[in-house]
Symmetry: C3
Subunit: 205 residues, 3 copies
């Protein structure tokens, strides 16, 4: 039996904010990682810890969801939002890990632009999560994340054209492409987060 | 509050038909794109417009779904069907864009067969959408799309074997494989559309 | 109309067990396939038959789900569990098919370790399915599958580093990576199965 004494769980808002703040930490670690002279192994290690913290947060949301009889918005939307925030972290951690695993020496310059977009998207998401409680200005969040995702897409496609320009060896292209793909996956995952926030906002308004 | 005066929304059928008709346009643009002597940049541009029209249609369905209190079939099935039609378009547009972006000169001959299967699947889907209203002959649609998907799979696997036969340079293999993968993704996405239509048909019958 | 005389469907447990047992068969075929001197074409053929049997089982679950008015646990969880078991099979079959299609001569030694993890995960899943009826010891299953998935991840990342070490030609790297990626996808899919089982266990307890 699913039963709780308190009918509405404010705890969800706090957990979503934690999860999004963790993404800000992760995105900043990515910026560090690709800076010149960075101790990449040390940063990838911090990234793993960050991903682990995110997992615990996701698990806490899922646990609360399964135990709550009444939830502040549709169960499925809570599940989706938690999973999608978790996806962003997973992709960022994987990108960092691949840079170390593949011993990549030189990253194309525009990878920094990819990562900066992720950092901005993470900050906006962390600011938006507490607003789920009042449902204010969520549409502005959705519009801005969509704009950033379009920008990420432009950067990504330019990077692909650059990768295949003949400047890199085939094996190098393969390695770099995987890092760049994971960063693009992270940008897409932010768009899924924003779509779910928009769905919640429309339903509840 | 979700409230509407009209209890059942016929508008969904029309929007699904629009979305599927848009896929027919997209598939025909793909056939054009891979024809010899085609103005690829111009066609990729049309493809982007087509994808944009699809996005608006998907958005209209989601908006109506969020605002409708009563829907002609399960909300989740409406959401899935809209998303899956949108996925087909996204994959087709991405394939077209990659052909231009990678400046691919020569496409393997069997890519035309891939695209023709997509065109046929799009036509069948456009014909099936209005039948959601009467729920007639939807099983025939499901069977035929599954047959086409199997055919697409055969063509795809043969193309992969051809790509890796040693005829192409590694970088060329990578570029071609991505185009071919996106077209295969589009064929798979049609199967998801058909599965959702089948689910709706079984539930409502 | 969805109507049945029997209010609860025990048949689901049996069908889930069939689906999981089929995964054990599939994983053992993979072990055979990568053994030295194996008749790969013959084994890939058996794998296709195995995947076909899995499809029929999935279809039977979906059919029963659509026709049942009352189900032993949430409809969505039944749908997810069936789909996720099916995904495991699809990835295993695809891996086997690619080995034959790409005429791969030499597979890295650690691919055997990847496949052995899949075999163990399949056995555990087959043992866990009948326990859905009593909801006993499902948490132990979830923990063990998560442990196996972490192990698979370690093996996978070590394999990637090995692939890109310079020992293989670019085209060979591409072919091997796809086989290894599909096996990793299968390990991830087992984790999704375990997560759904955990969700069911928490809700029903």
């Amino acid at each position: 039996m699913r039963l709780r004494l308190t009918p509405r769980e404010d705890g969800f808002y706090g957990l979503f904010a934690d999860s999004a703040n963790n993404l800000v930490t992760g995105a900043r670690l990515l910026v560090e990682l690709i800076s010149e002279g960075a101790d990449r192994e040390a940063i990838a290690e911090k990234m793993r810890a960050c991903e682990h913290a995110g997992d615990e947060c996701t698990h806490a949301i899922m646990h609360r969801l399964n135990e709550s009889f009444i939830t502040p918005f549709d169960r499925e939307d809570i599940y989706d939002l938690a999973s999608q925030l978790d996806d962003v972290m997973d992709y960022m951690e994987e990108a960092a890990d691949l840079v170390v695993l593949y011993k990549i020496q030189r990253l194309p310059k525009d990878v920094l632009r990819q990562v900066e977009v992720l950092e901005r998207a993470a900050e906006l998401t962390a600011e938006a999560m507490p607003r789920l409680k009042t449902l204010r200005e969520l549409n502005a969040f959705w519009i801005e994340i969509n704009r950033l995702e379009n920008q990420a897409d432009q950067i990504y496609r330019k990077l692909l054209a650059h990768l295949f320009s003949g400047e890199y060896e085939p094996l190098e292209v393969m390695k770099l492409k995987e890092v760049i793909d994971r960063l693009e996956d992270a940008a897409d995952a932010f768009e899924h987060v924003a779509n779910t926030v928009e769905t919640i906002a429309v339903k509840e308004s």
